[in-house]
């Protein structure tokens, strides 16, 4: 797959069809990968990487890249294409400047999951019929892929590319029986006290590194409210319990109806806070209350959060009274 992508990238660069390629750059380790822009074919040849660790969603970088002169080609996995469409809906991406290469994806590996299994010193990875062969400095390891995929991949919502100019590999289908709301349901069934404790436990670990915000394709404001003294919620660093009481709630609310559940927030969180569970709660709620809606499914959709109906609609009192202290 990597060679196929690289070859296609080279071809596009060389024949001048695009000026830049947005892809993944190899780092020191095989799992140490950075999204980057390649303009030089030689650089691409040498440093472009694509493997089971390339989880990063590249669509957000297009806000800046597509605003520049010339054309940029980008590799998008199925879930990334939803973010791409959503950003197009919000007029953040200059579609005409982007050449979208959809790439097949079966899931991306969580390095932490490997480490938890005691796999360390990783030097290579390849996938073979549902299992992963991992080269380490201690020898080869084989693990069932599903067990070390990131949560968002285990609960993949769609293998279908909702947008592409060309495809490498096959296009898949929307996963109808995906279980991504199971954990949200589990939380909903807890008592208020249990939920509170769960979330305090998670959110109190927040060190306010802003990684979730910076990686999130929906969190792409020109100026974030938390950096803006006029917003009334200026707060640039962890100082009090702002992170528990305000930051993540406001962030989740701000991206509600626009979040495509790409799962980048949880992927990058150094404290392993399951932030996607906040976003999924909103998604689950509006699907149940206002009808199914998938952000980014197509360009120009009206989000149920911004929409309204003059007919009967759920009243705020539908929220189940979690009255216990």
């Amino acid at each position: 797959m990597q060679n196929e992508l690289k070859w296609r990238g080279l071809e596009l660069l060389k024949d001048g069809a695009v000026d830049r390629i947005l892809g993944w750059r190899a780092g020191q380790f095989v799992y140490d990968i950075t999204p980057d822009v390649f303009t030089d074919p030689e650089d691409l040849e040498k440093n472009f990487i694509y493997n089971e660790f390339c989880g990063a969603n590249l669509s957000k970088y297009l806000i800046a890249e597509s605003a520049k002169e010339g054309k940029v080609a980008v590799f998008l996995k199925p879930c990334d294409t939803y973010s791409f469409n959503q950003l197009c809906t919000e007029h953040r991406i200059h579609r005409e400047n982007v050449y979208v290469i959809g790439i097949e994806c079966y899931g991306k590996v969580s390095v932490d999951a490997l480490r938890q299994r005691g796999i360390d010193g990783i030097t290579g990875i390849r996938s073979e019929m549902g299992s992963l062969k991992i080269d380490t400095i201690y020898g080869e390891e084989s693990v069932p892929a599903m067990e070390v995929y990131a949560e968002r991949c285990r609960n993949c919502k769609s293998k279908k590319h909702v947008v592409f100019d060309e495809l490498i590999g096959a296009d898949g289908e929307v996963v109808d029986d995906c279980d991504r709301f199971d954990m949200v349901e589990k939380l909903e069934q807890m008592s208020a006290q249990e939920r509170f404790e769960f979330w305090r436990g998670e959110l109190s670990r927040c060190i306010r590194c802003n990684a979730c915000r910076n990686v999130c394709p929906a969190c792409s404001c020109e100026k974030c409210v938390f950096d803006n003294p006029k917003s009334g919620v200026l707060n640039k660093a962890a100082a009090d319990n702002f992170e528990e009481n305000m930051f993540h709630i406001i962030r989740a609310y701000h991206v509600a109806g626009r979040c495509t559940d790409c799962g980048e927030c949880s992927r990058v969180c150094p404290e392993h806070i399951p932030l996607h569970l906040l976003n999924r709660k909103f998604i689950k709620d509006y699907n149940e209350l206002y009808g199914d809606f998938v952000a980014g499914e197509s360009v120009g959709q009206m989000s149920p959060v911004a929409d309204f109906t003059t007919d009967r609609d759920a009243e705020p009192s539908v929220v189940q009274k979690g009255g216990d202290q």
Binding site: F242, K281, D313, K321, G322, G323
Partner: protein, 147 residues
């Protein structure tokens, strides 16, 4: 400021839209009806002006309950504002509930300019609910104190 439970009185912020609910509250006054003084009203042009950030801010600053009052659906001075409120607050309250914040601390009520008596009964019941719940400790900015 430490108070024992007997002295404790809830702090309640009521956002009222200028056209219906704020007038409804005025009418309650004109008719000399009475409701608990813990309710403090903030006037907004429309219930749809209320940003979820305001509600979180109120809780963070020590409010024990936040209530939003707007025109009845269909009667919005700006035609559609309260329809937006309805959705936004449904989703926000559900999220707060999900985070373990007692959902009785948040409420939306539709109160028209003619419903002075209803304004009073809404406030009475809301204050009673919050009094029963006791002080808001979950979203208050009290990390040092509670631990």
């Amino acid at each position: 400021m430490q108070m024992n439970d007997k002295e404790w009185k809830p702090k309640i912020i009521a956002f009222c839209c200028n056209w219906c609910s704020y007038s409804g509250a005025d009418l309650a006054g004109t008719n000399r009806l009475s409701y608990p003084a813990e309710v403090k009203i903030i006037r907004v042009p429309c219930s749809c002006r209320v940003n979820p950030m305001f509600i979180l801010r109120a809780f963070q600053q020590g409010a024990d309950g936040v209530i939003l009052c707007g025109c009845h659906p269909g009667d919005c001075h700006y035609s559609t504002g309260n329809y937006h409120t309805r959705r936004r607050m449904t989703l926000l309250f559900s999220m707060l509930n999900y985070l373990g914040v007692e959902s009785a601390r948040t409420r939306v009520e539709w109160v028209s300019a003619a419903e002075g008596a209803r304004f009073v009964s809404v406030m009475d019941s809301f204050v009673a609910d919050i009094t029963k719940l006791g002080p808001n400790r979950r979203l208050e900015d009290l990390r040092c104190k509670t631990n």
